[in-house]
């Protein structure tokens, strides 16, 4: 009988620390499945962020490095330049990639580093307890925007994927979502392409994943998925950006 489902070899068989309804577990699994399918487990090197996914290396079963908050793409640059034969990816949240690490992100992209970036956008800082992220929506309440994000005080949600798409050295950017099984299948296809691009030496590839954070959106998991579809996707439309 054909085996159609199994635990990915690149994912350790352990419980995660993530909250109920969090998207990180799904994103981790998609990466592990793709690493297995592409046969690159013994070549891949992951760079974990600072944020909720700080111990992603406890869940993936391949070589990984930590990086200081925001510096994942600088660390990945160092690794990839020394070992171009390896497949190097970063896994970063919105605060890591688009606030404290904006400089590292833009310049790694502009140099056209041949790496893969998995960018988790959940519109909030999770690990530190629900503060405003660069991607927090207008009107969204967080601990540091108790009355909701306001343009005149906090500016607009930062669309860093669209900004990065302007750079000639950036080869592939797509925004996907985890709010339903069909969208998760599309997310997997996008992530796989971002890894395949690196294998084929095409260059800098980034997948932005809209990911639920029921805890700091203050809603039940099901409602968080609906909120992505009905609210978040209006500000961050999914699809290929470049």
């Amino acid at each position: 009988m054909e085996k159609v489902f199994s635990h990915p070899k690149s994912l350790r068989n352990v419980s995660t620390h993530y909250c109920a309804g969090c998207g990180h577990g799904i994103a981790h699994r998609l990466i592990a499945e793709i690493v297995d399918e592409l046969g690159i487990r013994e070549r891949v090197i992951g760079v974990a962020p600072v944020g909720c996914a700080v111990i992603a290396y406890d869940y993936w079963d391949f070589d990984c490095s930590e990086a200081a908050h925001g510096r994942a793409l600088a660390v990945a640059t160092g690794i990839k330049r020394v070992r171009p034969q390896n497949i190097v990816f970063t896994y970063q949240g919105d605060g890591d990639l688009a606030a404290i690490g904006t400089n590292e992100t833009i310049h790694a992209a502009n140099r056209g580093e041949n790496v893969t970036v998995i960018f988790i956008n959940n519109a909030v800082y999770g690990m530190t307890g629900g503060q405003m992220a660069p991607t927090t929506l207008l009107g969204q309440k967080t601990t540091t925007t108790p009355l909701g994000r306001e343009i005149k005080l906090h500016g607009y949600p930062l669309k860093i994927s669209e900004m990065l798409a302007l750079l000639p050295a950036v080869k592939y950017i797509e925004r996907v979502s985890l709010h339903s099984p069909p969208e998760i299948i599309k997310a997997k296809e996008a992530i796989k392409l971002a890894f395949q691009n690196q294998i084929d030496n095409i260059g800098f590839s980034l997948v932005e994943i809209l990911s639920p954070c029921p805890t700091y959106w203050d809603m039940p998991p099901k409602k968080a998925l609906d909120w992505i579809k009905e609210v978040m996707m209006k500000e961050f439309p999914i699809g290929r950006i470049k």
Partner: protein
């Protein structure tokens, strides 16, 4: 014997690094160390190494973190304000137990300060600098030849102890040209086989993780104790210093780096006149060479600490001597350099 060539300190440091097997350099422009990255930009491609002009000091030090994690001998360089920015990365490098070499060609501070030579970053280099209980090994060359030679030691010590090693020079050393002799020695750049912990892909082994994060209660304390044992070993084994006339000296000058050369001239001149003066020149600033301060310890002996700062190494000298001899100080900073005359005057006042 190879012939002598004329080089600036900055260039000699870069060439020393290349010959010591450094194959990754990332840096950001800042005066007075710009000859160093310029030299690396030319030299690295010749040895199939990597040169990156980073977007910032933060970018540079974190690229070094990655390159070191991937097994390369990696370095960065900067000058004082840039070193402040690198402290985050140095703390992570120490915490992840990665080897790396960081060069600080010191200039005047605080703030933007100026581009004149100074030794005002001694505290930053020898105390943790960044956050957490860690130390970097700190080496202080006093001439261009020594700047070149200490690069071999810096990379070897960084690898041996898996810890950051800082070359603490100053703008005078960096900019000055001197004839130096290059060694015939070229280290094998690929040291991966000795580094079982590097990230190479988990082929044929269980995955390696490079990290400084310990979330389970008690684990971080255990890790800190491991670090402390390592630092104790470094303190016991790696002290280095140069000394002159300590056997009978009654006034012992203590200076490092460029400042030590001026102090040495004074000592040699006064010895010709029969004065009982001596010199201690620490080569390792951390570990501080305590063995150098065991001579003539009596209330009649003066240790005169001379720095291009307002008294930073002075604290280590006082801690080491612990009241067993007299300690005097002469210092200028912000571009001022104590001259031979300044030192002679200070010695006269002590001797009276």
């Amino acid at each position: 014997m190879s012939k002598k060539i004329l080089m600036t300190g900055n260039e000699a440091i870069a060439e020393g690094a290349i010959q010591a097997g450094c194959r990754f350099y990332a840096g950001y422009p800042i005066t007075p160390q710009n000859e160093l990255p310029a030299y690396m930009a030319k030299r690295m491609p010749e040895v199939e190494g990597v040169f990156i002009q980073a977007e910032s000091e933060l970018g540079a030090i974190n690229m070094v973190f990655g390159a070191s994690a991937a097994g390369a001998r990696a370095m960065t360089s900067s000058s004082s304000p840039g070193m402040s920015l690198k402290q985050e990365g140095i703390s992570y490098i120490a915490g992840a137990e990665l080897p790396a070499v960081i060069v600080n060609v010191m200039r005047g501070g605080p703030g933007l300060g100026n581009i004149w030579p100074a030794q005002s970053d001694y505290f930053q280099a020898t105390r943790s600098g960044g956050h957490g209980d860690y130390h970097s090994i700190v080496l202080a060359p006093s001439c261009v030849q020594e700047a070149y030679e200490l690069m071999f030691l810096a990379f070897d010590l960084a690898d041996k102890y898996r810890t950051p090693a800082i070359i603490l020079g100053d703008g005078m050393l960096g900019q000055m040209m001197e004839p130096i002799r290059l060694s015939a020695e070229h280290r094998t750049p690929n040291t991966e086989h000795r580094k079982k912990w590097t990230l190479t892909g988990c082929k044929g082994r269980s995955p390696n993780i490079v990290k400084s994060f310990y979330m389970v209660e008690g684990d971080l304390e255990k890790f800190n104790l491991t670090l402390q044992r390592k630092y104790k070993t470094i303190q016991q084994k790696e002290e280095r210093f140069e000394s002159l006339f300590l056997d009978d000296a009654r006034i012992i000058l203590v200076a490092y780096g460029s400042m030590a050369r001026i102090a040495k001239s004074v000592v040699n001149n006064l010895r010709k006149k029969g004065k009982k003066v001596g010199l201690v020149r620490p080569i390792t600033l951390w570990p501080f060479p305590q063995k150098a301060f065991t001579y003539n310890l009596s209330p009649k002996t003066y240790y005169l600490v001379i720095e291009m700062s307002y008294g930073q190494m002075l604290e280590d000298v006082k801690l080491t001597i612990n009241g067993k001899a007299k300690v005097e100080f002469l210092g200028r900073a912000g571009g001022g350099i104590p001259t031979e005359e300044d030192i002679m005057n200070k010695i006269k006042r002590i001797s009276v």
